[in-house]
């Protein structure tokens, strides 16, 4: 096989800028519906090609030069991207000769640069929060700014970084720290309290997997309650179901929702202004405890319970008991339930265990999001309907009835496969603790 100019390789070296190519094809193909969205990414990718073709070596010494290129900010305006679309393609060919020369130059300088870099590393260890932050490049110094790398502290000894092509928003709302960046590969990325929430490139996987199983398992969901979900994508997916007459979304953070409406319109795609949706800004726990309404489906799309964060007491037995009361007689409750990685699944297992105390049917399931890097878990808890015993024909029929055939990730076969858990999780689901208000789960970063 001809080594296609560029897959991103897990292989020896980065091939000629492809991630890009594959990303582009997939997104362009899938994003026709979202208007300019596909165009933006294609422009972005064209630019990646252009740059990474010339600096495709992933040796340490090359990183400096790579990064110089990265430092040029990439404007976010749609115009610039659409211009870039045409240019990028042409540039690809023209640059080929230059690449060879550049590579030679680089090889010569390699040793020097490496030494420089090593020195830099030693100098610039610093602490951000309780995470010791070792910047990748000397000159970014670990700052959050265009061209730097943003570190997502998953735990103290395992974490990931994301290149900040352009800061779209950085700030603090009353409840949490908000970062919105543009990243070349993942598109726009939203971080809350430094934890990744969703990325443009694969938010569809997360939100389809969060919303549709719960709604599909219910024969006719009319009233839906969404806890959290500030980006609006959960609301967007909920409104796809024609039977939904009222979707109530409760987010504690009014400022965040405003930010998402303004900077991440691709997530909500007009869902906030749909006449079937209702927005409330208050604490979800307070609302659920006081409300007299009854809901067919409740979807919990909350951030993980970080110390002092807003969602610690939304994952406890007491809260789930109240949720069960607020649900209608055949109601369904679905949660975003954290990672299912062999090391980090304690939250997921504990949630399933806690929900089993309250609901007769509890079905944990999982999906894979590229931007999260780790397999991600959800839990479906229900008073009557069981997705696993549902017949395949029935699932197919509901997909068709509700016009969900054009979803980008879920299809009837995928729906059933979500509920298949690996052996290691099945074993540990039994052992987990029950989470209570006295002993809630708090993520130790």
């Amino acid at each position: 096989m001809h080594v296609k100019s560029g897959e991103f390789n897990r292989g020896r070296k980065l091939g000629r800028g492809d991630a890009c190519l594959s990303v582009r094809t997939s997104l362009l193909a899938k994003n026709k519906r979202s208007g300019g969205h596909g165009l933006i990414l294609s422009g972005m990718n064209a630019r990646i090609n252009h740059r990474y073709v010339s600096n495709h070596r992933w040796e340490k010494g090359d990183r400096g030069s790579n990064h110089e290129a990265r430092k040029e900010p990439l404007a976010l305006a749609g115009e610039k991207f659409s211009q870039g679309k045409g240019e990028g393609h042409e540039d690809e060919d023209e640059d080929e000769d230059e690449d060879v020369e550049e590579e030679k130059m680089e090889k010569e300088k390699e040793k020097e640069k490496e030494e420089e870099e090593e020195e830099g590393k030693e100098e610039s260890h610093r602490k951000i929060g309780n995470i010791e932050h070792v910047p990748v490049f000397r000159y970014n110094g670990g700052m959050v700014r265009d061209g730097a790398f943003f570190i997502e502290p998953f735990t103290a000894d395992f974490f990931r970084n994301f290149h900040i092509e352009k800061i779209i928003y950085e700030g603090k709302t009353k409840q949490q720290l908000v970062h919105i960046f543009a990243n070349r590969v993942f598109g726009k990325v939203l971080f809350l309290d430094r934890r990744i929430q969703s990325a443009e490139i694969d938010e569809f996987i997360f939100h389809e997997c969060l919303v549709h199983p719960g709604l599909l398992v219910h024969p006719a969901p009319r009233k839906v309650l969404i806890l959290g979900g500030g980006e609006g994508a959960t609301l967007r997916e909920t409104l796809r179901h024609p039977s939904v007459s009222r979707a109530t979304m409760i987010d504690i953070d009014r400022q965040l929702v405003a930010l998402c409406r303004r900077y991440l319109p691709e997530w909500s795609r007009g869902a906030f202004s749909n006449r079937r949706s209702r927005l409330l800004f208050q604490d979800a726990r307070q609302f659920v405890e006081k409300t007299e309404e009854r809901f067919d489906v409740i979807i919990s799309d909350l951030t993980e319970p970080l110390e002092g964060g807003p969602s610690v007491y939304l994952f406890t037995l007491e809260f789930f008991r109240r949720v069960a009361q607020v649900l209608s007689e055949d109601g369904v409750f679905v949660l975003q339930a954290g990672s299912t990685d062999p090391h980090y699944h304690r939250f997921f297992s504990s949630l399933s265990r806690t929900l089993r105390e309250v609901f007769p049917v509890v079905r944990p399931y999982w999906a894979f999001m590229f931007s999260f890097g780790l397999p991600w878990g959800f839990v479906l808890a229900s008073k009557r309907h069981d997705p696993v015993t549902m017949e395949t024909a029935e699932i197919g029929r509901r997909f068709q009835e509700r016009k969900l055939r054009r979803l980008r990730y879920l299809h009837p076969a995928m729906f059933s496969s979500l509920f298949v858990l690996p052996v290691y999780l099945l074993a540990d689901l039994e052992k987990a603790d029950v989470l209570t208000d006295e002993k809630p789960f708090i993520w130790q970063a």
């Binding site: 096989m1 080594v3 296609k4 897959e7 991103f8 390789n9 897990r10 292989g11 020896r12 070296k13 980065l14 091939g15 800028g17 492809d18 991630a19 190519l21 594959s22 094809t25 899938k30 990474y52 992933w58 790579n66 040793k111 490496e114 590393k121 030693e122 070792v134 990748v136 790398f149 103290a156 000894d157 395992f158 974490f159 990931r160 970084n161 994301f162 290149h163 990243n183 070349r184 590969v185 993942f186 694969d202 062999p342 090391h343 894979f368 999001m369 590229f370 999260f372 890097g373 980008r408 990730y409 299809h411 076969a413 995928m414 496969s417 979500l418 298949v420 690996p422 052996v423 290691y424």
Partner: protein, 282 residues
């Protein structure tokens, strides 16, 4: 192996963090608890560090190949579907896979002989020293180790195999030939009639184009050409793809025999779910 000279670059201070640039715009970091090994072999740079969560982490040319904690995802999915679908595999060939994980998984089955063909002797040596499973696997009388190029081996061998597993690295560098059509034609000629070929095919997201291209020519060569997927948290994108090729055995029917006990990821249900293809792919 190139000997280390004092003052050469290998003697620079060892960093406290090791990372892989998974994409041009993101990376994966491991905090190094202890450096275990670093060398440059004839083929690649070999690094082995210890991390608190993931245990021992092997990197080849700066790319995470194997971590003690999550290698089971990869190795079980690479090996188990093929060996469970074949009703009675006796002769197995593993191309690549010097870390020995694939060999270990094959030996869990009642096979008669397994040959591991690895190009880089140093990887075997390092893995033997630091990964607990390789040494006993190699001591098994059914296992045979061949140091050499997988492509040459398959061209020269006169044997035929029930199951061939391609545990290659990616289509650039020493493994490039292991992704070409000619190589698969050669593999096919060494396959017994009920034989199965399985192998890794890159990230389900970042290598989409390669998957499509590979599928295009593999479909013309085999009656059953299916791709399947499984998570590997420390690989780019977190989801990995594998191919299953056979002229007689349809993997969608599921395992042909009871699943062997003691596996951490693979089960009958997982097998069937893994073959569901996400619609963005093709």
């Amino acid at each position: 192996m190139i000997p280390e000279k004092p003052g050469s670059r290998k003697h620079r201070p060892r960093s406290k963090i090791i990372w892989e640039d998974q994409t041009p715009a993101s990376g994966l970091f491991f905090r190094v608890k202890k450096w275990l090994h670093r060398e440059k072999s004839r083929f690649q740079r070999i690094e082995l560090v210890e991390n608190e969560t993931y245990g021992r982490v092997l990197l080849l040319d700066g790319l995470v190949q194997t971590t003690e904690a999550d290698e089971f995802f990869y190795h079980e999915m690479l090996v188990q579907p093929a060996l469970h679908c074949h009703p009675e595999a006796e002769r197995v060939l593993v191309i690549g896979g010097g870390d020995g994980g694939a060999l270990r998984e094959v030996l869990k089955h009642p096979v008669k002989k397994v040959t591991l063909v690895e190009i880089d002797e140093r990887v075997i040596e390092v893995a033997k020293k630091f990964f607990s499973w390789l040494e006993p696997a190699l001591r098994d009388s059914r296992a045979e180790l061949v140091i050499g190029d997988g492509n040459d081996y398959i061209a020269k061998t006169t044997e035929k195999f029930d199951v061939i597993l391609v545990d290659s690295s990616d289509p650039v560098g020493p493994s490039a030939v292991l992704h070409e059509k000619e190589f698969f034609l050669r593999l096919k000629s060494k396959l017994r009639s009920r034989g199965v070929i399985a192998g890794q095919s890159g990230s389900a997201f970042f290598h989409q184009q390669a998957i499509r291209e590979k599928r295009a020519f593999l479909q013309t060569m085999f009656r059953y050409c299916q791709f399947y997927f499984g998570p590997v948290p420390t690989y780019p994108g977190g989801v990995w793809s594998y191919f299953f090729l056979s002229n007689r055995i349809n993997p969608l029917r599921g395992p042909a025999k009871p699943v062997i006990p003691g596996l951490k990821y693979y089960s009958r249900e997982v097998h069937l779910a893994a073959f569901v293809v996400p619609p963005y792919l093709y």
